[in-house]
Symmetry: D2
Subunit: 143 residues, 4 copies
């Protein structure tokens, strides 16, 4: 099993239980180990009191991309911190893509940069996530 195949199997394993990302209509692609792209359509039930996408749901999209990027190594890895910068509001009907890439990965701690862009490739939000690996296997043991 090569790196990309392992990353994708980890992603499939997580996806089964990830009811939150499913409920938000998020789709995830893993282009390489340590990276992920998550896309989401801003629905009517995702806008805040000012009629633009709720900031927390932007973070949810980024966090999903982050989780699938940092869980590529068959080692259950949790988000321990996220820093979000909101540059531009997203509107209902926008299709957003969160692109996560690995900035650094140590034995336990990793750092990821996540950018959210809209359908016009404009930067909507910029994130950094810090991950903590637990040392537990993510994939079921091979028979």
């Amino acid at each position: 099993m090569d790196d990309l195949e392992r990353a994708r199997r980890c992603g499939e394993q997580m996806w089964i239980n990830d009811k939150a990302s499913q409920a938000l209509g998020i789709e995830v692609d893993i282009p390489e180990a340590g990276a992920a792209v998550a896309t989401m359509l801003i629905r009517e039930d995702m806008v805040n009191g000012f009629g633009v996408c709720h900031g927390g749901l932007l973070v949810a999209l980024a966090d999903t991309a982050f989780a699938f990027a940092c869980n590529a190594y068959n080692d259950v890895t949790l988000a321990s911190a996220v820093q979000a910068e909101f540059l531009r509001p997203a509107q209902r009907g926008d299709v957003l893509s969160a692109i996560a890439r690995e900035e650094y990965r140590g034995r336990k701690t990793g750092y990821y940069t996540i950018r959210i862009v809209n359908q016009d490739k404009e930067l909507v939000s910029l994130f950094r996530g810090r991950s903590a690996a637990t040392g537990e296997a993510l994939l079921p043991a091979q028979k």
Copy 2:
């Protein structure tokens, strides 16, 4: 209209359009101007690939408390950044409270601290939010 009354009217005005917070089952209370408490039950559709509350939805809860705290002054105010620290996982069935308080408020920029605690008063997450006031009135003009 005193400060608390104005803060609560601003909250009511925002709540009407805040479909995202409504869809997440969040309830908001405004104990004083510049503060807010948002509560949320972790539902089955809120868990991530590891069966605990999706980090982005913790941020959504915190972000709602933050929005209602910083929009107390009849001046439309947006979140420009949020920093989240995840200390303890939240489980399905947990009832979380996000408590936002004002750390500093300048002419345009404000900083808020938001703590999420669970039903056992344990700290789940700690946030700081930076807000940017737009200068636009939030409440409809008085007749």
Copy 3:
């Protein structure tokens, strides 16, 4: 030895070796366990390319207050992260005070808020620090 006395002894122990804070002319006071106030005069050799206090030296002042606040418990504790917001420039000749207070302290991880104000009590910078306790004693063993 009560909490405050222990905090101050820890501070004295650290101060002996803290050549950086000494070289910056910083003075530290510990009003209670988990808190610290560090003061610094902005000298001619502390200004940056625009003639105002170098941002890194503001962080150095805040970091000193943070270190003396989080090392109150006879448990060697290191800064693992700092987030700084620069609100107002500081000028040569200003006397700045960094006031650190404990926001949360768990078994290993702690969070501290540090505010820097100038001699006119205006907020210059706002920080959050995350600390990591090592479990090693800071004070020499009692005879």
Copy 4:
């Protein structure tokens, strides 16, 4: 004047007044517009109460690299926020390099990633800086 030449002239202009970076023994190189490398030897007067490099001075090094990276465009640009993660202590005698690169640059706001590595190319600290352009010219007007 091409982009790199302009960036370097901006750097020279800033350097003249940057007494803080000079006092810290920092040297700066500008490999391209929007990037900068700052190097610093950890001196005896840079260690903290635990005998390792004071965290604030790591931030000072990163902040210098950040300032020279974001001031490449003849538009006086200030740091408005910095987030620092401390991964590994630096020792007296270490030679550190802070490498700043542009993550995003809008009309007013920019984001920069800064990595500090030691002489063994190990990652010591990781930063993100947010910059705010003022719209004022940095270079003296051409005759």
